[in-house]
Amino acid sequence: MGWDFNLLFDLIKTAFGWWYIIIPAVILGTIVGAVPGFNAANTLILLLPLTLSMKVELAMVFMASLYCATQLGGGIPAILVNIPGTGGAAATTLDGYMMAKNGKAQQALVCCFASSVFGGLITSIAVVLALPLLVKLSFYIRSVEMVVVMLFGLTLIAVIATEDMLKGLIAGFFGLLIGAVGADQIFSTPRATFGFLELYEGVPLVPALIGLFAISEALAMIDKPTILTEEGKARAGKARWADTIEGLVISMREWWLITWTAFVGLIIGIIPGAGASIAAFVAYQQARTFSKTPELFGTGIPQGVLAPESSNNGVTSGTLVPLMAIGVPGGSTAAVMMVVLQYQGIVLGPRLFIQNPELAYGVFISMVVAYIFMIPTILPLARYLSKVTLIPTQYLAPLIIGFTIVGSFAPREYIFDMGLALAFGIIGYVARKTGYHVTAILIGVILGPIFERYLMRALRISQGDIMVLFSSTVGNVLWAMLVLSLLLPYFRQHRMRRKRLS
C-alpha cells in the first residue's frame, strides 16, 4: 500500500481536534485501570449506550483512548500498594512496590508513566507504518507457537524464585493446578470445582488477583505503622519535582529496553487470546535475562517497572491489529469495540483500509494522540500520588480491603467471588509470611488455563502426537530462543565466576 501523507496529516490534525473526547477518556481510563476488578472491557460494556449513540469515529477514538489509559492506570496501585489494578500490571509489583517501600514511589510512577506512554506511542506508530506485515505475523503464530510463548511466561516462576527455588516452584505449580480448576477444554467436564457452579468457567482472575495481592498485603502490612522502610520514610516525606525529573531521566536512559519490550507486547498483543499479563511477564523475564545486573531484579530497580509497563502498553496497539485487519478481536476489549463497529454497519477486514482508511488508520492515529495527551495529564500526578505511601496502615489496610473486596464483585457480580478473594487473601498472606512468592502463584493461575488451552488445541490437531510442538519453523525458533534465554544467565554467571577467579 502506498502512503498518502495528506491523509496521514489530516488524521493527525483531526485526532488532536478531538482533545475533548480523548482527555476525559484518558482520565476515566486511568481511574478504571487503577481500580482492581475494573478494566477497559467491562467499562466499555457499561458505557455501550454512550458509545453506540456517538459517531463511529468519535466512539472509536473514545474507546481506544480509554483502553490505552487503563493499562497505564493498572500500574499505579501496583507500585503504591502492591496491588495490580489489572492483570497486566502484576509483574510491575515485583520492583515497583519495592521502589515505593524504599521511598522512590515517585520515580517508580514516572518510570511507569513514561514507559507506558513511550511503549504505547512507538508501537502505535509501528502499527500504522507496518500494518499489512503485522497482520501476516498473526497467521504464523498458532497454538503450537503459543505453547512456547506461554512457557516463556512460565519460566518467570523460576526466575522470581531465586531466593528459594524449591518454594517458588511449589508456589508456581500450586497456582498452575488452581488455574486448571473448572471445565476442561475438550469435554467441558468440571474438575475440582468443590461443587460450586461459579467455578465451572475456572478460577476467576480478579478475585484471585485481589486476594493474593490486595487482601494478603493488607493483612501483612498491619505489623508496621506505614508500608515504608525507615530510609524510605525520610525520602518519601521530601517528595520533590526533582524526583519526577529523575524518573524521566532514568526512563530516557533505558529507551532501548522500553523499545524492545514494547515490541514484545505488540507481537503478543497481535495474537488473538493472548493478553497484557502474558506480555508483561514475558517482558519482565526477558529484561532480567538480558540485564547486566539480573540479581537486582526484584529488589526495586526501575528496569523491573519499565519492561512490563512498556510491554503491556504495546499489547494495546497489537490487540486492535487483527480486529481492524481481519475482523478477529485480539482480546475482550477489542471484542466490545467490534460490537460498536458492527452496530454502525462497518465491515471489518482488508476492505476497510481501502473503503474507509480514515477509520481504519484513524483508530491507531488516535492512540498515538492519546499517548501524547497522557504526558501532560498524568505525569504531574506522580508527585501527589506518591504520598499514598505515607498513609498510616491503620487507615490504608481498611481502605485497600474496602475498595478491592467490592472490586472482586464487579466483573461477574457474584457475592461468591468476594469469598473467593478472601480465601486467596489468606493463602496469599500465609505464602508471603513463609517465603512462597504470591506472584509465582498468580502466574500459574493466569497462564495455567491459557497454556492448557493452546496445548490441548495443538494436541487435538495432531491427534495426540506430542511432536507437533516441534513441527513448525517459527515454533522451533521460539523453542531455541526459550532454551537460550534459560541458559544465558547460567553462562553469564559462569563467565563472571571465572573472571573473579582470574
Partner: protein, 170 residues
C-alpha cells in the same frame, strides 16, 4: 550451659509454618486427582502432570526440612506465621470483618455495609479519634455509592441507604 542452649535454640530456624502451603497444595492435588480420575486423557493430562510434579516438589521440600530438623538447624515451630503475637488479634479482627461484610451485604446494601466495615476495621486497627474515623468511613461509603451504584449501575445489593436515596433523587 542453659544460656548456650537458649542461644542454640534462637539460632535454629522455625520452619513449621513453611508446611502450611505444601499441606494445602497436597490436599488440593489429592482432591483434584479424585475429580479427574475417570475423565478422558485430554481432560486430565494437564492436571495430572502439574499435580505429579507438585507432589514431587513437596516431597523434596519435606526431605529437606527433615534433614534440617535432624541436623539441629531448624525446629517445627510456627513463629513465622504467629509472630508478632500482638498483631494476630487485629489480623483475625480484619478477617472477621471481611466475613461479616460478605454475610451482611445482601441485607444492609453496599453503602451501609462499607460504612460499618470501615468503622469496624479502623477500630480494630486502633483508630480511636471519632472525627477521622467517621469522615474516612463516610467518604469511602459515599465513593462506593456514587461509583458503583450511581455511575456504574452495578448489581450490588440495595439496602436502606440506597432505597432512601433512590426515593429522594427519584
Amino acid at each position: 550451659m542453659t544460656a548456650d542452649l537458649d542461644k542454640g535454640k534462637a539460632r535454629r530456624q522455625a520452619i513449621g509454618a513453611d508446611l502450611v502451603i505444601p499441606v494445602l497444595a497436597v490436599a488440593f492435588t489429592i482432591y483434584y486427582f479424585s475429580t479427574i480420575w475417570e475423565l478422558g486423557w485430554e481432560a486430565k493430562a494437564n492436571g495430572l502432570a502439574i499435580g505429579t510434579i507438585l507432589l514431587l516438589l513437596v516431597g523434596i521440600l519435606l526431605a529437606r526440612m527433615v534433614l534440617q530438623v535432624k541436623r539441629g538447624e531448624a525446629t517445627l515451630a510456627m513463629d513465622r506465621l504467629l509472630k508478632p503475637l500482638e498483631s494476630q488479634g487485629r489480623r483475625l479482627g480484619l478477617i472477621g470483618a471481611i466475613v461479616a461484610f460478605i454475610v451482611v451485604l445482601p441485607w444492609l446494601g453496599l453503602t451501609l455495609t462499607i460504612f460499618c466495615f470501615m468503622c469496624a476495621t479502623m477500630l480494630v486497627l486502633g483508630v480511636r479519634k471519632p472525627l477521622p474515623l467517621l469522615t474516612t468511613a463516610l467518604a469511602v461509603a459515599a465513593g462506593g455509592y456514587v461509583g458503583f451504584i450511581v455511575v456504574l449501575n452495578t448489581r450490588f445489593p440495595h439496602g436502606p441507604v440506597e432505597n432512601i436515596l433512590a426515593r429522594i433523587f427519584g
